[in-house]
């Protein structure tokens, strides 16, 4: 109880500081989300009609995904130095896996009869991709995007250990000055941001499915 009161007091007292950190955090996460979203989508599409290459690419993404965040950041420092650039790079590397895997799975699982109908009716390769494959894979791709967004926002919390901005700064400062309330306050905001993002994307997905009368 005492602890919660001190967290609330901290928010009340330093709300501007927290707001600034929140802004930095969102900016950092959003940069990584946009890059890994686009890159992951492109790679997923690219391997979707290269069945020989696909398992290798997805395997690499899986391996990258299992590297502990702290050590990935450590490995990147010699190449990119410390700061936001390294943090974004690490987040993009993590974000690859859910995006590539879901884009690939979504596309290769489109009903082959549907593809055949579309080709038989005279679609070019590009028209087949943009009008049939991608829209039909969209809900699987959106599910990948959702888990990638949530992960990026929460892993973004440790980016400040290598000098990047964001709510991790509050966590890190709380640890160094023995102020658990501050660490908690930062973590709570990260969790809330992730939940809000997840809800927003979930609503978008539901709306899409409803519009297309999909179950």
């Amino acid at each position: 109880m005492e602890f919660i009161r001190s967290v609330i007091a901290l928010y009340a007292e330093r709300w501007q500081w927290f707001l600034g950190l929140l802004g930095d955090h969102v900016r950092l996460a959003l940069t990584a989300i946009i890059i890994s979203g686009l890159l992951g989508l492109l790679i997923g599409v690219w391997i979707s009609d290269r069945p020989k290459l696909a398992p290798a690419v997805i395997g690499v993404c899986n391996v990258l995904y299992t590297i502990p965040a702290i050590s990935l950041l450590g490995i990147l420092i010699p190449f990119f130095g410390i700061g936001n650039r390294t943090a974004v790079t690490a987040l993009v590397i993590y974000g690859m896996m859910p995006m590539v895997r879901n884009t690939y799975t979504g596309i290769v699982n489109v009903d082959p009869d549907i593809i055949e109908a579309a080709v038989g009716m005279g679609s070019t390769k590009r028209q087949l991709l943009t009008r049939i494959k991608l829209p039909m894979a969209l809900s699987v791709i959106l599910a990948g995007l959702r888990s990638m967004v949530v992960m990026t926002i929460s892993v973004g919390g440790i980016a400040s250990f290598i000098g990047a901005g964001g709510l991790g700064v509050a966590i890190y400062r709380g640890i160094t000055i023995y102020n658990p309330a501050m660490t908690f306050a930062g973590s709570l905001l990260i969790a809330l941001t992730a939940i809000v993002a997840d809800l927003l994307l979930g609503t978008a997905e539901k709306r899409y499915r409803k519009k297309r009368r999909m179950k």
């Binding site: 009869d113 055949e116 579309a118 038989g120 009716m121 005279g122 679609s123 969209l138 999909m214």
Partner: protein
């Protein structure tokens, strides 16, 4: 008789080691409705897919309007041939209207207003209410879906229709009315039709000629009357007897 609209010239086609079509020769004159019947797996679907270039012959050639399919612009060829697949293959993420307008939209043939009018007209042609245009395929019955499949194949005003068991999953009465509609459409539009079916009654009712297939070869090709009078093999004889 003028040059055949569809011509198979000594076509061989195999999947791996299994031959599916063997030295297949066939000429379909303009305006004919040719029905194809034969055991499951005898190569009917394969023959249709050679016409719109979804498959290529291992040897021999297929000609459509005198053009060798493997040497022509296949995208353009496919847009000029109506194709109704065995499982209807409607696009689940598009409305009925967008499904029907699919081929014309690939070459931006219709503006929005034209699309609305054409879709309504095509729906009427296949005996459906124009109001269905806004629905999604999952909201239709099996028979309605098959009608939409036909409307979609007709949209780009093809002169050739390839129909692979288009009336597979509907009851007998719906099937009859779809057959009647197809026949009057064919007369009205002068379509050349290749029509695959498992139903001998349907093959006889719709076909100007009936092609009986047996493991990749033509075992009989004649008018319904003559096939009924003198069936060339046991398969067709059994089918005819079953019907009685």
């Amino acid at each position: 008789m003028a040059e055949a609209v569809i011509r198979f010239d000594h076509v061989n086609k195999a999947y791996g080691d299994t031959a599916v079509l063997r030295d297949f020769c066939l000429e379909v004159p303009e305006g004919e409705c040719l029905t194809m019947i034969g055991r499951s797996g005898c190569g009917k679907t394969t023959a249709l897919k050679l016409v719109n270039g979804l498959l290529t012959p291992d040897s021999g050639s297929v000609y459509v309007r005198g053009q060798d399919v493997s040497a022509t612009d296949r995208i353009a060829l496919r847009r000029s041939i109506g194709y109704v697949i065995q499982s209807t293959g409607l696009f689940p993420h598009m409305t009925v209207g967008k499904n029907i307008a699919y081929t014309p939209s690939l070459s931006r043939m219709w503006d929005r207003e034209t699309e609305r009018l054409e879709v309504a007209c095509l729906l009427k042609t296949v005996g459906l209410e124009p109001e269905l245009a806004g629905r999604y395929p999952s909201e239709l019955s099996g028979g309605q879906r098959q009608r939409v499949g036909i409307a979609r194949a007709l949209a780009a005003r093809p002169s050739i229709m390839l129909m692979d068991e288009p009336f597979g999953s509907v009851d007998e009465i719906t099937r009859r009315s779809l057959q009647d509609e197809l026949r009057s459409l064919r007369d009205e539009l002068g379509l050349t039709v290749l029509f695959v079916t498992h139903d001998i009654g349907e093959a006889f009712r719709l076909g100007d000629r009936v092609l009986v297939m047996e493991s990749g070869r033509i075992s009989q090709l004649d008018t319904p009357e003559r096939i009924a009078a003198a069936p060339a093999d046991d398969f067709i004889r059994e089918l005819i007897e079953d019907r009685k």
